[in-house]
Point group: C2
Chain length 341, copies 2
Amino acid sequence: MKPELTDRKLQILAAVVREYSETGEPVGSKSLAADLNLSSATIRNEMSDLAELGLLEQPHTSAGRVPTAKGYRLYVNQLMHRQPLSERDKREIDDMLPGQVEDPGVLAEAAARALAELTDCAAVTTTPADDQATVKQVRVLPLSRQTVVVAALTSSGLMKSRICLVEGGVTPDMLEKFIRFAEEQLYGLPLSDFQQGLTQTLAVQMGDLSLLPIMAALQETLASAAQAELLLQGQSNLLKHRRFGGEQAVRLLEFLSRGRPLLRILHHSGEGVQVVLGNETGEEALEHSGLVVSPYRVGDREMGSIGVIGPDRMDYEHIIPSLEYFAYRIGRLLSDALDEE
Amino acid sequence: MKPELTDRKLQILAAVVREYSETGEPVGSKSLAADLNLSSATIRNEMSDLAELGLLEQPHTSAGRVPTAKGYRLYVNQLMHRQPLSERDKREIDDMLPGQVEDPGVLAEAAARALAELTDCAAVTTTPADDQATVKQVRVLPLSRQTVVVAALTSSGLMKSRICLVEGGVTPDMLEKFIRFAEEQLYGLPLSDFQQGLTQTLAVQMGDLSLLPIMAALQETLASAAQAELLLQGQSNLLKHRRFGGEQAVRLLEFLSRGRPLLRILHHSGEGVQVVLGNETGEEALEHSGLVVSPYRVGDREMGSIGVIGPDRMDYEHIIPSLEYFAYRIGRLLSDALDEE
DNA sequence: TTTAGCACTCATGCAAGGAGAGTGCTAATC
DNA sequence: GATTAGCACTCTCCTTGCATGAGTGCTAAA
């Protein structure tokens, strides 16, 4: 039958996790004896119990102990206490971000770059995307004889555009008609309305099939405005961590560059800062790695995510508050740009 | 005194390069004997001469020979004959690229991704950027109480925008005034005029300092439109090549993500497809790697570059024609979008 | 319940030895 | 005079054996 999970056992687990995070080596009983005022033998007994509980494991018979995923999870959820960010740290982060948002994509990229540098891990952000945002402005600009550029601005401050080929050219008449239609019928509609191909319907409604290609381009533009893009930085940092050797590194980088599966993980994590252990995702490529993820929001609307990807034994106590601050700061900057309080 | 560089020596050099490219192992005299209808002893003599000429070298006394940078350069310049691309290959490439340009950035990214996948190396493209392109259209769209979005379209089909904070808000009057000014004074000017901060001058010319922030945003927008962006794909492919182990891989990836130095290399390479050997660049991070680079053009104007980054012993004979075709195709697609012939 | 002591288990590092690949040189051959 | 066969020599790489040391589990004493 299972041993009981006493308070002291938890303390020992925490100590093992901390030491293991620092050194990356299995931790033995002796190295903890001093810290905890107990003999190594006592600790050995306790560790043996912890192993039985599935919280620690041994790489081989005569090595020290290493926390299991379950052990780590327990630590992260209950044992860890976050190290608050100093004012200095905050200022450092502020300095790495733009003072105001000139372009949401640029902001997201700067944030990812800063976060990667700060944590020595890979960092990922999504560009702000909100399919509840609405169509704010639409413009159609002639580019060449047979092409126009369709541009759309959303209420979330995102500007997107598409080049659109119109066989036979475009007359000023057509443009005006299109713009009028857009103003009357489309302004204020949420982007989510444009995910599916309702182009046809709209074109018919417009009563002019020659505008179909422009309508199609506009729809694609709006659809893409609702789509979050993934910005990845600091992949090379991952290689520095001994944890990712050979095969594993290739798999991990390849996974990250695939984009979609990573997006899914970002979306599925909940409210505030979340720790996701690689093993828990079922993704083979994420073995031995961990993510710390947080959404950022404008007002009470989730606009995107920011996250750190590193070895599962990264320094959560420090990274979590940093990430939290990043998310807060990004939200703040975006809100400022949109005049929202 | 130096041995003469006979025809047969060149043949042997070529054979060494080819075999080395395939296997990555130093190549011995025996393995070439069969191919060239000579005894291994003869080849040994010749190889010894080639070593004296600085074209081959030995990792250690009793290993086979490896081409030096000089040897590789000679091979690339004179000995290699490109393998023409099959129609099938061309179609495959066509299928991986969009059928028409909807957005230049998307095209560049798709090309990089396709190229990386095809070559199993890293690939890089720059977004089209031409500082001789001109200002085609300018728009200012109100976003919120205190912000507007300044958008600009260039003659090269690039649409860029910036969010711009205007303390105190913006009146329709101001907007109209600004647009009129832009239409009259700025349309047709080359982007290169906006690289330096001539904002002040223009604002004074405009006679209304309250428009200064908008003018500044416009200038930044136009400056950024002249700036090529770097799109990198397939970094993880590099790790698969045994050539990049440990330290070297970190340095290389880190170098790539730095961006600027890579841009410099892309810009400095000449007319058509160029092979750049890492050693020749003086960049330590590029040791053991090679680049194949080509500009792509619209009309006779260079708009950007596309390149492959891999181990210096990559398969140039195949990669060069592929890259050439990519460059041709990108140029073609862009030309189509701009109605140029 | 805690601790000291001890036998036991493995990973790791190092030295020695053998196998194999490839060379350079010399002398024979075409 | 160029080419080739033969051979001694040099190095790397792999294997094996052995010593070392960290760490454990168990038992018996405190």
